[in-house]
């Protein structure tokens, strides 16, 4: 059965959105719709909303009346997800699972182990980040099938977006979660690319007049929980404009939620100083909420000098126990604009404090809140990103890659003040190196762009529009102990063997030419695994003996166990490694026996390992 719709799923850290295009509606007309997702908002009450909050609530059996969690398609869902989860969880955080997506990309954690919520007491049956991801996808699938009973989601073209900075293991887990709910046909798309697709779709063919050959578009996506950066170059092939994604940034856990929290803590300090009373945690939460609303008001209405903040008491007496204070424009500027978008020179880098040894298990949040420092680091590191493109010549003296256009995405940049400031700083850097200021590409829908772009991508995959080329955003290496004699006190020298080059296209495969590994049958063999987002010239088989610290980033180990089928345990089989990028967009590593061409898959999801 051929797909009727192209469906885009933005599986966000804080929200999920599903958008779709009717592929049979006509040839050139793209009509995008966003699915209103029925979800519980509280016990017994169901509403349709465009966004499904990415939260799961693990309710106590006595907490909710029988039948009060029914959804249009099931009498009793396995997990409470969406608005109800966020609402109940705001008062009972020990049972709330949040940011499951960030955990997927968290090195050193087994994402299929029931670890969330981290702070939950013993008796709460925790779930894995993988299970939570599956639950959101399942809800979206059921909502779709309820709306389109004749056109099941399982039969449509589905695109799921992931952060550009997702490592191969996190991508694999996302695809696996989709497969587990019957969406085996789903393909992956990087979020900044989706945002650009949405901009292209939105311009209705006019985009070619807004960019030209030689442009480098910086896509800055500052969402609720993460900041994602990508560079896309505009090139030419056979007289047509072509888009090539040339670089992606690191996974930075920093976003709008941090900003609201920063405001709330400042106001809290002010209140405690004035009143001498300590605020309770529920008050801080209400304050965060009030700060978010005040922030939006102040950003949208430049004439306002300050916004009153009110935290009502929890009891039925509303007037008596109310806590009052205000958020001034000065505070907003100082904390958000100066704090998150500080005015820094291009050579400044994010501050990294050494992690304390006894860190509680948690997400590796960015230590430096200065988004502009992260941006400076990214642009400087990617100075050579367009080196191979003949249309993109960087001046000799350039100390960073010069973007010529900027596309914004994510809720934070809806605030004009923040967007302007980011542009000012970037243009200031450019000016210092006598480069033209970058233009801001207009007309993006910052909240829904990713889902819309993903739905449009299904259209593009049918050959109906310009496709962003990219391939893998990193080169991948396995670590091999070198054959040097061991020196006491020093760890064995390690060499990095390139097994997948930068920019490998979907559906292509590379095999290691010569190197052979002896794998022992029946015993798990582990490799150290590295990625580099800057080494663009390494081809398969290259062995690196030395590299700079920031060139290679160690990922989780990969593991392979050869089954005993037809062989003796303990035998050694010579294999070579092969890497392929699947059509879906995941990296697949295989061990291939030279003798009989038998293949075994190498698993990524061996996170944590002994350490966990």
């Amino acid at each position: 059965m051929t797909a009727r719709y192209s469906v885009g799923i933005d599986l966000g850290t804080t929200h999920c959105v599903l958008s779709y295009v009717d592929l049979e509606a006509g040839d050139d007309q793209v009509v995008l719709d966003v699915l209103a997702i029925p979800q519980l908002t509280g016990p017994g009450s169901i509403e349709d909303k465009a966004q499904l909050p990415s939260f799961t609530y693990l309710a106590h059996p006595a907490e909710i009346a029988e039948g009060a969690t029914a959804l249009p398609w099931t009498a009793k869902p396995e997990y409470l997800v969406g608005e109800i989860a966020r609402n109940l969880g705001s008062k009972t955080p020990i049972r709330l699972v949040s940011s499951a997506k960030s955990w997927l990309c968290h090195a050193g954690v087994d994402c299929k182990q029931a670890i969330l919520p981290v702070e939950a007491p013993e008796e709460v049956a925790r779930i894995s980040p993988f299970a939570a991801t599956k639950a959101y996808l399942q809800h979206l699938r059921d909502a779709w099938n309820h709306r389109f009973p004749e056109q099941h989601l399982q039969d449509q073209d589905v695109t799921i977006t992931v952060p550009a900075s997702f490592d191969p293991a996190a991508r694999e887990l996302t695809v696996e979660a989709a497969r587990a709910v019957g969406l085996g046909q789903a393909v992956l798309l990087e979020e900044p690319q989706a945002a650009l697709y949405s901009w292209i779709e939105n311009s209705e063919g006019d985009w070619r007049n807004h960019v030209q050959i030689g442009d480098v578009i910086l896509v800055a996506d500052i969402g609720g929980g993460t900041t994602d950066l990508s560079l896309i170059a505009v090139t030419e092939q056979d007289g047509n404009l072509q888009l090539t994604r040339v670089a992606v940034g690191d996974h930075i856990l920093l976003g709008g939620d941090n900003m609201d929290l920063a405001l709330a803590y400042t106001v809290k300090a002010k209140l405690e100083q004035d009143g001498g009373k300590r605020l309770e945690s529920w008050q801080l939460q209400a304050l965060t909420h009030a700060c978010r609303e005040a922030k939006e008001k102040l950003f949208n209405q430049p004439e306002l000098g300050s916004m009153p903040l009110v935290v009502a008491s929890r009891g039925s007496s509303l007037i008596g126990g109310t806590l009052r204070t205000e958020l001034t424009r000065d505070e907003l500027n100082r904390i958000l604009v100066e704090g998150f978008l500080p005015w820094v020179p291009i050579d400044e880098r994010p501050v990294v404090r050494p992690r304390s040894g006894l860190r509680t298990a948690g997400l590796p949040y960015a230590q430096d809140a200065g988004i502009t420092r992260h941006l400076a680091a990214f642009l400087s590191r990617q100075k050579d990103a367009t080196g191979e493109l003949s249309d993109h010549l960087l001046p000799e003296h350039a100390s960073f890659l010069h973007p010529t256009a900027v596309l914004f995405n994510g809720g934070v940049l809806k605030a004009g003040l923040m967007a302007e400031r980011l542009m000012q700083i970037l243009n200031n850097w450019l000016q210092a190196e006598q480069a033209e200021p970058a233009r801001l590409l207009q007309g993006a829908d910052l909240d829904l762009a990713v889902a819309r772009g993903a739905a449009y991508y299904g259209f593009v995959r049918k050959g109906k529009g310009v496709r962003i080329k990219g391939g893998t955003a990193a080169a991948y290496y396995v670590g091999i102990e070198s054959s040097m004699p061991a020196v006491p006190g020093l760890p064995a020298e390690i060499e990095a063997l390139c097994i997948a080059p930068f920019g490998m296209e979907e559906g292509s495969e590379q095999e290691l030419p010569n190197d052979e590994f002896g794998l022992v049958i029946g015993e798990p063999v582990r490799f150290r695994f590295f990625a580099s987002k800057t080494r663009r010239d390494d081809v398969v088989g290259v062995r690196l003996e030395h590299w700079q610290d920031d060139e290679l980033e160690e990922l989780d180990e990969i593991e392979i166990t050869l089954p005993e089928e037809g062989r003796h345990a303990g035998d050694i089989v010579p294999v070579h490694l092969s890497a392929a990028v699947t059509e879906v967009g995941t990296l697949e590593l295989k061990a291939v026996s030279k003798r009989d061409q038998q293949r075994w898959k190498i698993e990524f999801d061996v996170r944590a390992g002994e350490a966990g």
Partner: protein, 214 residues
């Protein structure tokens, strides 16, 4: 039922456009009947099944009904007034709205509190909570638009046949439409309604559950 018999000898005393239309309709229906009958006959000839025979019977009374209505309208000059049925407002929707306003805006808490003991500043602070929440609850569940798009204070003219439910006339109401007057209030109408759906057995009378922190 002898009231439905057709008196073919009855003739109209006057002949106006209305009768011409009726006659035309009757002729048209008769033509349709003939065509149907012919096609049924042809069909029966082709395949001798019993089913078309049933169809053939059906259209006949249809024609009669149309003619019947003509007669009834002529004879019964003043139909008996229909009993007035008043719409009963469903309590669930009202309770739901109360619950939404309480959840988002602490509406009931505010209304139920004795404000006489508090200063204006204190009430004002609480009013912000109520205002912000009400505004959120209302804009989330209703799409509101003004009834009249003219600015308040402008002179507006209501032509004959205006919707009296949408525009209320006040003051010196005399004469015939068109009416011209000052727009005092632009009015509000709900163009879209998005109330939450409820699960079976959900007790809407609990507009805010008691909260117990453990």
């Amino acid at each position: 039922m002898n009231t439905y018999t057709i008196d073919l000898s009855l003739r109209p005393t006057t002949f106006d456009l209305w009768h011409v239309c009726l006659a035309g309709t009757a002729a048209l229906l008769a033509l349709i009947l003939i065509v149907v009958l012919i096609s049924v006959l042809l069909g029966m000839r082709r395949c001798k099944s019993a089913a078309p025979a049933v169809v053939a019977v059906a259209p006949q009374p249809e024609i009669k009904i149309v003619e019947k209505i003509v007669e009834v309208e002529k004879i019964v000059q003043a139909p008996a007034p229909e009993p007035v049925v008043l719409k009963e407002a469903t309590p669930d929707a009202a309770l739901q709205l109360l619950s939404l306003l309480q959840k988002e805006a602490r509406f009931i808490d505010f209304i139920k509190e004795d404000v006489s003991a508090f200063s204006d500043a204190e009430i004002g602070a609480a009013a912000r909570v109520v205002h912000q929440g009400c505004s959120k609850a209302v804009s989330e569940h209703f799409t509101l638009a003004p009834v009249s798009n003219d600015p308040e204070g402008n002179r507006v003219t209501l032509n004959k046949g205006f919707d009296a439910a949408s525009f209320r006339l006040t003051g010196n109401i005399v004469g015939e439409a068109p009416f011209t007057g000052t727009l005092v209030h632009k009015g509000w109408q709900v163009t879209e309604l998005r109330l939450p759906k409820l699960t079976e057995g959900h007790n809407t009378k609990i507009v805010a559950p008691a909260e117990v922190e453990l």
